[in-house]
Structure formats: structure tokens, C-alpha cells
């Protein structure tokens, strides 16, 4: 009977078209005290692809992926339910590792659902960027996971406009011209004189400010507070819109990205490598190139007024994992294994969390990005990444950052007063996060 059943099961698995090896029935009891199934939660296939290509799974262990798309809060909902049921779950159903983004990583690192990875044996952080470790640590500094990729960002500027406005397109000289926000304002004024825009969205540089705040969004008593850096951004956005230095469209709106095309007028954009490599279609897309409306090669990269990062994926260790050895090994390999990291850069266009490997590519004179006219962007990021800070974070950041931008722009567009805009922002926050105390709500 058992044989028949197992044959049937094998048949079923062969027949099932999904090739990712889902687990049907619990396998034989785990040997050597560790589980036979390594269970990973993720919201997309990115890491899965790297994992399957570059990580050698120990024999006898099956890797099971649960992938819940990140629409709304679905991924976190499913993950939370699984983590809360972790204790009562069957050994092979237990979550071993899960992926998290910077926006909500704190929710998990600050909870008991994640565990200390140093205790598991991941101890070598010599080559990682400090901010990635800060992000994966809880309030008392216990490290709960690692980041396998690093997303330092910079200012991507238009060389032809820089030439016209500043008389130079050299990254170092442009960097000197925008070294701080006061200088940035001066360049914006000069751009406007020549009929250019400084940025093409009021929120283009928002993340630069929000990454460099001096206080968290919410104080110890859960009162909402608007940091001076955010205040500066609001003033800047207001002035820029008033002076015609920027537009009132959002970062992802077509109106904004169009300004990166051949006849676009925006001087600069802010973002990490993935931003220009994948999200600036009108500037670099194959169709734009074919139609001759692209701006390939007309761009340069520098640090910009302040260092910041955008995006990135962290691997966190789930409490109650029954595969601690493999868990530690996966994390260690993706930050310390030279071969894995080299492959990530060479084959996958990643900026890894291993300074030594990144620096090797940064120093390679042959290495460069055609979009940026052959400039070695890894070299810029390798420097910039050291200065990034992960600080003053709260579990509410995603909601605060997004809501502020959407409701504040209504004021910039002249539809509501500043007070109304801020009130709408407070209301939206209060609905989303009942724990936050907002002014008069």
C-alpha cells in the first residue's frame, strides 16, 4: 500500500507542471536532528533564481518556496499568519527563512519571530556594508539576517545639460557643484534660466531626505513628528514647483520618465542602479533606441548632495527553523562566498553586499555602463555605499513616506491648502496605523 502510494505520489509530482518541487506528504523523519525541508517565503522569484543557480543545496534537503505576490499587504499577511502558526506547524511546514524589504524589515527584526544569526554561526561581517547590517538588527543590536544585495543610490545627471549649465560633464566636477542642498538649489536656478528642469518630479529626491533624517517618524510616545529633513524637502518641493524647477507628477508617472528621453528637459534623477537600468524606458529602452528618441550615453552618475539607498532584499532567519545549519550556510554564502558574489555581479547585474568583490569590479577599467557613457557605476556606488545610514527607522515608514508625498502634492498642485493637505495625510495615517497619535485626529 505504502509503495503504491509513493509511486502515485511520484507520478503526481512528475505530472504536476510546476517544476519547483512542492512537498506533498511529509518525508521520512529528519535525521541528525535537522529538518529535511527548507522552507523559504518570498514575494517574487528574484532570489529564488539566484539561489537555484548559485547555491548548492545539501544532499537530502528539499527546498520549498512559498511565493505570495506583494500586492497590497498580501505578502506580509501570509507571512505573518505563517509565523504566528510557526510553533504549531508540522516540522516540514515551518518557515526557515524569509525575505523582507527595507520598508518593513523592522517589523520582523524587532520581533521574536526572527532569531540571532550570530548564534547560528554567521559571524563574518567584515565585507558587508554597515547599513545592511544595521537594517537587519533589532533595537539592541542583535543581527537577525543579511542582505544579499545592496542598493546604494546616487544622482543620475544629464551630461549635455550639465555641459550647458555648468560648463562641465565630468562626474567629479558635477558632484562638486551639487555637493550640498544649497549648491543644488543654485544649480536648479541656473537650469531654470536655461529653460531646463532640475528634476522632473517634486518627489524625485524625496528618498535622499527621508534616508537622512535626524529623528524617526514617530517618537517614543507614538506621536507623529515631522523631521527637519522632511520639512526641508517640503519647502524645497514647494519652492521648486513655484519656480518651475520641477513638475507635480509622481516619480513613476509617464510625465516624469518622459523627461529622460532625447528631448527631455530634466537635469537629474535620483536612484540606484536598478532605477536607470530598468525603469527609465523612454531614455534607455530598446524601442526608444530603435525610434531614435533615446538618450543612451548622455548620462553621468555622482553621489549627489547626500548618500542614500533605495530598495534591497534581506534574508531573515525565522525563529523555530529546524534547519539552522543550512540557514546559516545560505546567509554566509550570499555575503562571503567570493564565487557567489562574483557571479551575482557578472551574470546578474547586482551590486553585492561584499565590499571586496565589488571593489574588484570598481577598479576594473574595462567595467562600465553604456547608458552612462561607459562610466563605471560600481566604482561610484562602492564609495557611496560606505556612507549610507540606516537609522531612525520605524515600522510606519512606508506608509508615512508614501502618504506624505501623495497628499502633499495636492497642495503643490494648488487644489488644497497646506493645512488641508497635512490633515489628509494625518487622517490617512491614522486609518492605517491606529497606534500613531496624529495632531487633532
Amino acid at each position: 500500500m505504502k509503495k503504491l502510494l509513493s509511486i502515485l505520489l511520484v507520478l503526481l509530482m512528475v505530472l504536476s507542471l510546476s517544476a519547483c518541487g512542492q512537498k506533498e506528504e511529509p518525508a521520512a523523519p529528519a535525521e541528525e536532528g535537522e529538518g529535511k525541508v527548507f522552507h523559504i517565503y518570498a514575494w517574487n522569484e528574484e532570489f529564488k533564481g539566484f539561489f537555484e543557480k548559485y547555491y548548492k543545496v545539501p544532499e537530502g534537503i528539499e527546498v520549498v518556496w512559498t511565493i505570495v505576490p506583494n500586492e497590497g499587504t498580501q505578502y506580509q499577511d501570509a507571512l505573518d499568519l505563517a509565523l504566528m502558526n510557526q510553533e504549531s506547524a508540522a516540522a516540514d511546514e515551518k518557515v526557515d527563512m524569509f525575505l523582507a524589504e527595507a520598508d518593513y524589515i523592522l517589523k520582523y527584526t524587532n520581533s521574536d519571530y526572527t532569531q540571532d544569526i550570530k548564534a547560528l554561526g554567521v559571524t563574518n561581517f567584515a565585507n558587508t556594508y554597515p547599513y545592511t547590517v544595521e537594517a537587519a538588527s533589532d533595537a539592541s543590536g542583535v543581527v537577525k539576517g543579511v542582505s544579499f544585495q545592496c542598493c546604494p543610490a546616487g544622482m543620475i545627471y544629464r551630461r549635455s545639460i550639465a555641459e550647458d549649465v555648468l560648463g562641465t560633464s565630468d562626474p567629479d566636477e558635477v558632484q562638486a557643484a551639487v555637493a550640498d542642498w544649497a549648491k543644488f538649489d543654485e544649480v536648479a536656478a541656473k537650469c531654470a534660466e536655461k529653460g531646463y528642469l532640475m528634476t522632473s518630479s517634486y518627489a524625485e529626491d524625496y528618498r535622499v531626505f527621508s534616508n537622512n533624517t535626524s529623528s524617526p517618524w514617530v517618537d517614543a510616545d507614538n506621536n507623529l513628528q515631522i523631521d527637519p529633513a522632511i520639512q526641508t524637502w517640503m519647502d524645497q518641493a514647494e519652492a521648486y514647483v513655484k519656480n518651475g524647477y520641477t513638475l507635480t507628477s509622481g516619480v513613476w508617472d509617464a510625465e516624469t520618465t518622459e523627461q529622460a528621453a532625447k528631448d527631455g528637459k530634466a537635469f537629474c534623477f535620483f536612484g540606484p542602479a536598478w532605477y536607470y537600468n530598468f525603469c527609465m524606458g523612454p531614455a534607455f529602452g530598446a524601442d526608444a533606441v530603435a525610434a531614435g528618441t533615446d538618450s543612451v550615453g548622455d548620462w553621468g552618475l555622482c553621489d549627489g548632495p547626500q548618500a542614500f539607498f533605495w530598495g534591497g532584499t534581506w534574508l531573515l532567519a525565522a525563529t523555530g527553523s529546524d534547519n539552522p545549519t543550512m540557514l546559516a550556510d545560505v546567509m554566509d554564502k550570499f555575503i562571503n562566498d567570493e564565487e557567489v558574489c562574483t557571479n551575482l555581479i557578472k551574470n546578474e547585474a547586482q551590486f553585492t553586499n561584499n565590499q571586496a568583490v565589488n571593489n574588484k569590479f570598481a577598479e576594473d577599467p574595462e567595467f562600465g555602463n553604456p547608458y552612462l557613457g561607459g562610466q563605471n557605476d560600481t566604482a561610484v556606488f562602492a564609495e557611496g555605499a560606505k556612507n549610507i545610514k540606516f537609522q531612525n527607522q520605524t515600522i510606519y515608514d512606508q506608509g508615512c513616506n508614501e502618504s506624505l508625498q501623495t497628499y502633499f502634492v495636492e497642495y503643490l498642485q494648488g487644489n488644497v491648502t497646506k493645512e488641508e493637505a497635512l490633515n489628509n495625510f494625518y487622517k490617512a495615517l491614522h486609518e492605517k496605523y491606529p497606534a500613531i497619535k496624529v495632531p487633532e485626529a
Binding site: S16, L17, S18, C20, Q22, W43, N44, E45, E46, T66, I67, V68, P69, N70, E71, Q74, Y75, D77, A78, L81, N85, A254, E255, T257, E258, A261, W274, N277, F278, C279, M280, G281, P282, F284, G285, A286, D287, A288, G311, E348, A349
Partner: protein, 286 residues
């Protein structure tokens, strides 16, 4: 006499022209939406990051190929799962709603009004609300990744029930049921063999609607179906949407949305025929 005939004919032609014009205009409006979707499905991701225009993107086949071969999703599996869920729910929901409506419509029993008012009341409760509790309970009892859990609850569909009840009210002569009883038919047979055929147009209509809503349902299935082989079409579309930046391809997303409509159109075409058939057979008069 001849004159009035001519006038009537003339009027008929005029009203026909007007009617055709009106219908064609509305069809154009609807087709426009559909053509937009096809147009979107012909564009590459980078084209879609810029301003939208009516030019053909020229990536239709490429998007089709990419969507079909995307390694993270398996379109045929998704379609089969969606079809199983949508078809079973459509059948179950229409049958049991018709049965319930019939039970309340033809019989006199003590709780008749209470039951009817009750069902009408629960129809007003937003579905989002019970969904949350439902999912919590499903997780508690370990009922994730079970397709039947998306099918069985459709036995109780107040909206469909309401429609069936209203339909019966306007079409079912009670005498017909009584006549059948005299012939010695048992109640189940009366319902299955006499009442259900009369309700064919209504059943077809509600089958279409519940098929479509179940086919497009995302919220619940997304939380309940986490294993690849059980995922339905909307979850796969969401999967594509939540792909990482290097693989994110809006063209693929629109292509899949377009593909997902095809099975629904087929079901619709088949069922809409039976709406017409149900009437031309003139079964109402018995």
C-alpha cells in the same frame, strides 16, 4: 389602408436605423476598451514607462511568448485551476440558489417571511468583512491550498438567490407546479425537470456572472492558495506584477490579462445562447 401600412413600414425602418446606430455606437465604446487592452498587450515594458499613445507597440508576439514561457508562472495550470473553481462555483451557486429560491417561492411555511428577510439582510453585508474571518479560520484549521474551500461556500449566494426568487416571481405560474403534482411527480423531480428548464435563461445569466466573478477573484484565493500548482489566474497576474525590477514586464502583465479573458468569452458565448434558447422554446407556457 395602404397608406398607413406604408407609414408604419417607414417608421419601422427609421426606428431600425436608429436602433442599429445606437447599438453600434455602444458596441464601439466597448470594443474600444478591449482594443486598448490589445494595444497595451502589444507594447514593451519600456514603451509603457513613457507617455501612452495609440501606436501599435509591435511586441505582441514577443509578449505572448514571454508570458507563456515565464518560468515563475504556468499559464495552463492557472487556467485549469481557475476553470475548475469558476465552473464548479458557477454550477453549484446557480443550482442551490435556484433550489433555495424555489423552496421559498412555492411553499408556504411558517418561517417563510423570516427566512426571506434574513437572506435579503445578509445580502447587504459587505463581503470583504466575512472574508477576513474566513481566512483566519481557514488558517486555523489548516485548510490552505484546497480548491474546494473556494467552491463549497458558493452554495450560499444571497445575490444569486435574490435574482432567482425575483425571476420565479415573474415567470413561474404556480398552477404548473400543481399540475405536475397531480401527475404524481415528487418535489425534487418537479424542480429538476420542470422548474429548472423554465429558469434556463436565469440560470445561464447567473452562471455567467458567477463564473466571471469567480474567475477574476483575487483577494481570497491569493491568501489561501500559496502553492504553485494550485494558483489561479489572478494570483499569477499578481505574481507577474510583483516581479523584481529586472524581470518586471508590464507588457507580459497585459498579455496575460488579455489571455485570461478568452476562456470567459467562450463560456459566455456558450451560455448566452441558452438564454435565447430558453425563450424561443416558449417553455413558460408549459
Amino acid at each position: 389602408m395602404k397608406n398607413t401600412n406604408k407609414k408604419a413600414r417607414f417608421l419601422l425602418i427609421i426606428s431600425r436605423i436608429l436602433a442599429y446606430g445606437f447599438v453600434i455606437f455602444l458596441c464601439f465604446l466597448c470594443l474600444f476598451c478591449f482594443l486598448l487592452l490589445i494595444l497595451m498587450a502589444s507594447k514593451s515594458n519600456s514603451q509603457m514607462q513613457g507617455a501612452f499613445n495609440f501606436r501599435w507597440g509591435g511586441h505582441f508576439m514577443e509578449n505572448l511568448y514571454n508570458a507563456w514561457n515565464d518560468f515563475s508562472i504556468n499559464i495552463p495550470v492557472g487556467m485549469v485551476n481557475s476553470f475548475i473553481v469558476a465552473m464548479s462555483s458557477a454550477i453549484i451557486t446557480t443550482y442551490f440558489s435556484a433550489l433555495t429560491a424555489y423552496g421559498i417561492h412555492v411553499y408556504n411555511f411558517k418561517l417563510k417571511n423570516v427566512v426571506f428577510t434574513f437572506i435579503m439582510a445578509i445580502m447587504m453585508i459587505p463581503s470583504q468583512v466575512s472574508a477576513v474571518g474566513f481566512i483566519q479560520l481557514a488558517y486555523k484549521f489548516g485548510l490552505t491550498n484546497k480548491l474546494w474551500l473556494l467552491i463549497i461556500p458558493s452554495v450560499a449566494a444571497p445575490v444569486v438567490f435574490f435574482y432567482m426568487k425575483q425571476y420565479l416571481e415573474s415567470v413561474l405560474p404556480i398552477e404548473m407546479v400543481e399540475a405536475a403534482r397531480i401527475d404524481g411527480s415528487n418535489e425534487f423531480r418537479i424542480f429538476n425537470e420542470i422548474v429548472l428548464p423554465i429558469m434556463k435563461p436565469a440560470v445561464a445569466v447567473q452562471m455567467i456572472f458567477s463564473f466571471v466573478s469567480s474567475w477574476n477573484n483575487y483577494f481570497m484565493p491569493a491568501l489561501l492558495l500559496t502553492k504553485e500548482k494550485y494558483k489561479t489566474v489572478p494570483i499569477m497576474i499578481a505574481n507577474l506584477r510583483s516581479a523584481d525590477y529586472s524581470k518586471f514586464d508590464q507588457g507580459k502583465v497585459f498579455m496575460f490579462i488579455l489571455l485570461a479573458i478568452l476562456p470567459v468569452m467562450i463560456v459566455y458565448t456558450i451560455l448566452s445562447k441558452s438564454i435565447i434558447k430558453g425563450v424561443t422554446s416558449g417553455s413558460v407556457k408549459g
